[in-house]
Every structure is written in C-alpha cells, then in structure tokens.
Amino acid sequence: MIRKEEIEHIGWLARLKLSEEEKELFEQQLSSILDYFAVLDELDTTDVKPTYHVIGITDVVRKDEPKEALEQSEVLRNAPKKEKGYIKSPRIL
C-alpha cells in the first residue's frame, strides 16, 4: 500500500497540482502497480546478472562535428511566453 503523503510527494516532484479525487485514483493505481512488483519479487534472481540495457548493442558514439542549429524564431515557436529571445518561466526557488 502507498500512503497519501507519498502520492502528494510524487505529485510535488513532478510539479503537478493534484485534486483530492486524483490523489485517490493514483493511490489505487500506484498501489496495484506496487502489488505487481511484489509478485515479480517472488522470482529467484540470485544467479541473474542485473540488466542495464535490453538491446544488445554497445559503443555507439558520434564524431565531434558541429552542425547548424535551429533558427531562434523556430526555437521560440512553441514557447507560450517569451521575452527578448528568452523563454519566460515562473521563478522557482
């Protein structure tokens, strides 16, 4: 089971304002997900190496070559608020 305070904390981490109904809904949903992990935990993995990646390839790198950037107007096109070429955002402390 997950506690309501934990739901609120997770909401805060994602900077989401949750309504009381949403908190209740996520409490149920996240609890059932955690319950399922409890089922997975029953599996004996003593001799299994941890998986960090599911695709079996390694060593993908690129050359250090600069390429053309986006136009500033393009960059700012999706920004709801802008000022002098900057994207405006709420102040967060």
């Binding site: 981490l13 790198v61 250090d64 600069p66 960059v75 994207i87």
Partner: protein, 474 residues
C-alpha cells in the same frame, strides 16, 4: 575544531559540439536560444548520441588525476523538474562513471611553509550542463525567470574529491591546481565565463555536513566556504546543531542561504538512460594516455633540476602552461635564472596588475622580444628600471624593445655621465655629505636617490652607490 571540505567540481570541456547533439559549443557572447536543436531542447522523439571527443577528454582528465578508468561506462537519467532542464531529467552518470579513485597533490602554504598534501579523488563522471536562468534583479525579487538553452547539453566533467581539504584556502589552492592540470591537457579554458562551477560539502567536528551549491567562480570558493564555516561555528558555539541541508551561495551578497529543499537523493529516481547504450571505454585508455603531456608537477621538478631555479620560481612558472612554455623558450636562449626572475616576478606582476593572461600577453611580447630585453639588461645597455619600462610600454601600447628604448631614451648612461651627476649632487647637498661623514647611513641613500633623479633612472643604483662612496671617501 576540525573542518572537512569535499568538492564537486564541474568543468566545461572544449569540444566543438555538445555532449549529446551536434550544436556548436561556441555560444559565449551569442544571442539566447541560437545554439539549440531538438535534442538539447528536449523535444519529443529527439535522440541523444554521445560525442566521442568529449568521452576521450573525460578519460584524459581521469588518467591525469591518477584515476582508474573503468572498462565500461553507462549513462543515467537524473529526474527533477526545473526550468533550466528541458526534458525533466539530466543525463549524467551514477553506478558506472568513467573512473574512480585518483589523487591530486597540492602545496598548501600554511604557516609552516609549503607543505605537500594529497587530496583523494573519489570519482570522475560525465554529464550534460543545464540551460541558464536569467533573473531581472536578484533571484529573491524577480517575478519570473528567463531561460536560455544555449548552455543546455554542454559537455561537463564532474570531479568529486574526498573530504580531505582542511580550509577554504586549501580548497582554493586545490581548484587552482585542478584548473592548471585541465589547461595543460588542453581540454578546458578557465577564462571562459562559468567554465568551472563548484558544489562544496562542509562539516565541522561535532556537526552535520551542509552542501553549498552554485559557487561559480574561482574566487567565490574561498569566500563561500569562509562564510559557511563561520555560520556553522556560530551555531555550535551557541549550543545549536548544524543541520544536514543544501544551501545556495549568493555570489553578490557573499552569503549562503538555506534552500529548504524537499528533494532527497532517492527522489532523483536514477535509472539507466534507455536511449544510450553502454560504452566499452577500455579500448580508448592506452591511446588517450599517450596524448597526456608533461603535467605541472613533473614540469616543476624538471625546471628546478634543469635550470637551477628556486622552488618558488618553478611553482610560479609552471602554474599556467602558457607561462611555462614562454619561460622555456626564453630560458633556452638566455640565462635561465635571470629569465625566471624577470618572468615570474616582473612580467607576471605586470600581467596581474592589468588582469591579462599570459596567453594574451604573448601576442604583445614574444619570447624573442623578451630575450632582447634580457640581453640589453645583461650587457648593461639598459637598467632594471629601463627593462621594466619597456615591458610596461609593450603591454600597454605595443611596439618593439629597441624602438621603445630609443623613443623613451631608456639606454643606460656611461660612467662618465654618472660621475658628472655625482659631482653635481655632492656640490648641491653639502649638508648631506657632512651627515655621511658624521656616520649617518641614511645620508648615503638620500644622495644615491638624488643621483638617480639627475640621471632619470638610467644608472644602476649599485654602481652609483659604489662611485659615490669612493668619491666622498677620497
């Protein structure tokens, strides 16, 4: 009370393109949001790809710091929401950084003289830089923030030390040494704004440790740490406890402020970045090792041995690679000891006074110009004062040593002219001459000063003193 300081140093690497996208890193002085693409803006569907040169620079740094480079490295996502982080996570490293456990030697100039100390390096890892937030006024009073993503995705190397530093001064000396090493490796430029940013962990015996974030200049480190230590000492003295917390350094006011953060390590929910595969870096190690040049410590010892210069001079000359190269060029053509004095004591002093780097200065005074000046000096064509005058003039207005000497009339005058000046001074200052005969030592200094005035500094004070004495004793 024992103070323990550990540092997390973030250094921007001098690659041509960013860490995970091909945007140019040449954004200093550029308009905001002009060096960005879908990847460093965090647009949906954009994929990161690791810059090989950045990786090699990271390995180069790790090797130079004596670290053990790992066979394989993995990138992770560190999740948190902040406007400077467009994806909602930073790509960084966690369990499998590029290297562990190194060592940096510093010369801590405590009251007991230059004491060598070893500072252990915990780990070296790579990560991307977030964007830059600009506030109108201060962070407290601004009503909103402006975001520039040009810096987003810049390659950073993070160097973490053990809590081995014992004072703010040592922390400053350590950072100076680190900067010196990174510049020798030609992977970093400390003169670029924001090129090195530091977070510091500080604890005093009997208290919890506090983390101070956002120290963004070399000078800021010592100041921020002094403030924080004083704050903690005052708490302990009043019988209060120092809480484990994260504090923000306000550079303008020179103070640290509690961030009252609700985020803890496990809140970052680190997990392997699914868009980047593991990289087996073992194969780079030997090749990169061969690219490591002679480092400051080795160069210092070689200078002392080869040029018979003092430890202080060797320290001063090897701190910055450009100064070291300049010195070697001059010393190979002229008296190495004289060269050391004139570069470490005179030239560096003049550069500090003008806040110019050696790299900049060498475009105004070439090593060959310097050889010319020292040659004039050694052969008595100019005096110490004349040489200093030429150096100043070249730094401020350019020109060549011979021109300046001619134009400013800096050439030393012959013994005959000095003798004429001495005779005149003796005639004009009878009472001082009497004082000298009466055994007043200051009288001689006064008379030497008068002769120097007469000759407009173009005579060697030592020679004047000897000649004056002879003349008066007769």
């Amino acid at each position: 009370m024992d103070v323990k300081i550990g540092l997390e140093c973030h250094a921007q690497l001098l690659t041509k393109s960013k860490l995970f996208c091909p945007c140019s890193t040449d954004y200093h002085n550029a308009e905001p949001n002009t060096h960005v693409c879908a990847t460093c803006l965090g647009l949906p569907g954009a994929l990161p790809a690791v810059n090989r040169r950045a990786l090699r620079y990271g390995i180069k740094i790790a090797l130079a710091l004596g670290c053990t480079v790992q066979p394989e490295t993995i990138f992770y996502r560190k999740n948190y929401y902040y406007p400077d982080l467009p994806r909602g996570f930073q790509i960084t490293q966690y369990d499998f950084p590029i290297a562990f456990s190194g060592l940096v030697r510093i010369e801590s100039d405590g009251d007991d003289g230059g004491k060598e100390r070893e500072i252990r390096i915990t780990r070296v890892h790579m990560e991307e830089d977030p964007g830059r937030l600009v506030y109108k006024g201060t962070i407290d009073t601004a009503t909103y923030a402006l975001v520039d993503y040009n810096r987003s995705g810049m390659p950073l190397v993070e160097i973490v030390t053990e809590p081995d530093l014992k004072s703010p001064k040592e922390a400053r000396i350590f950072l100076g040494k680190l900067r010196s090493i990174l510049e020798y490796l030609d992977v970093f430029d400390g003169n670029l704004e924001g090129a090195m940013r530091v977070d510091a962990n500080i604890s005093i015996e009997g208290g919890e440790r506090a983390e101070v974030k956002n120290i963004s200049s070399f000078k800021g480190v010592e100041k921020a740490l002094y403030f924080e230590i004083t704050r903690q000492r005052n708490l302990l003295r009043r019988g209060l406890t120092v809480q484990q917390e994260t504090r923000h350094y306000d550079e303008v006011r020179g103070i640290t402020l509690s961030m009252r953060t609700k985020e803890f390590e496990h809140d970052y929910r680190y997990f392997p970045e699914p868009d980047l595969v593991p990289i087996r870096i073992a194969k780079y190690i030997e090749e990169v090792r061969r690219e490591i040049p002679e480092l400051p410590d080795e160069k210092k010892l070689r200078f002392i041995k080869r040029y018979s210069i003092t430890r202080e001079h060797a320290n001063s000359l090897t701190f910055d690679i450009h100064t070291a190269d300049f010195y070697e060029d001059v010393a190979s053509k002229r008296d190495p000891k004289l060269s050391a004095t004139w570069i470490a004591d005179v030239l560096k002093g003049e550069l500090n006074y003008r806040s110019i780097s050696m790299r900049e200065a060498s475009t105004r005074i070439s090593p060959d110009d310097f050889v010319t000046i020292l040659t004039y000096l050694k052969t008595g064509v100019i005096t110490d004062r004349g040489a200093t005058e030429i150096i100043r003039e070249m730094l401020d207005h350019g020109g060549k040593p011979e021109e300046i000497m001619e134009k400013k009339g800096l050439g030393s005058i012959g013994s005959e002219a000095i003798e004429t000046a001495i005779e005149a001074v003796i005639k004009e200052n009878e009472s001082a001459v009497q004082d000298y005969h009466a055994g007043k030592k200051e009288a001689l200094n006064f008379l030497v000063g008068q002769v120097m005035k007469h000759t407009r500094g173009r005579a060697e004070p030592k020679e004047v003193r000897t000649m004056l004495k002879e003349k008066m004793e007769r």
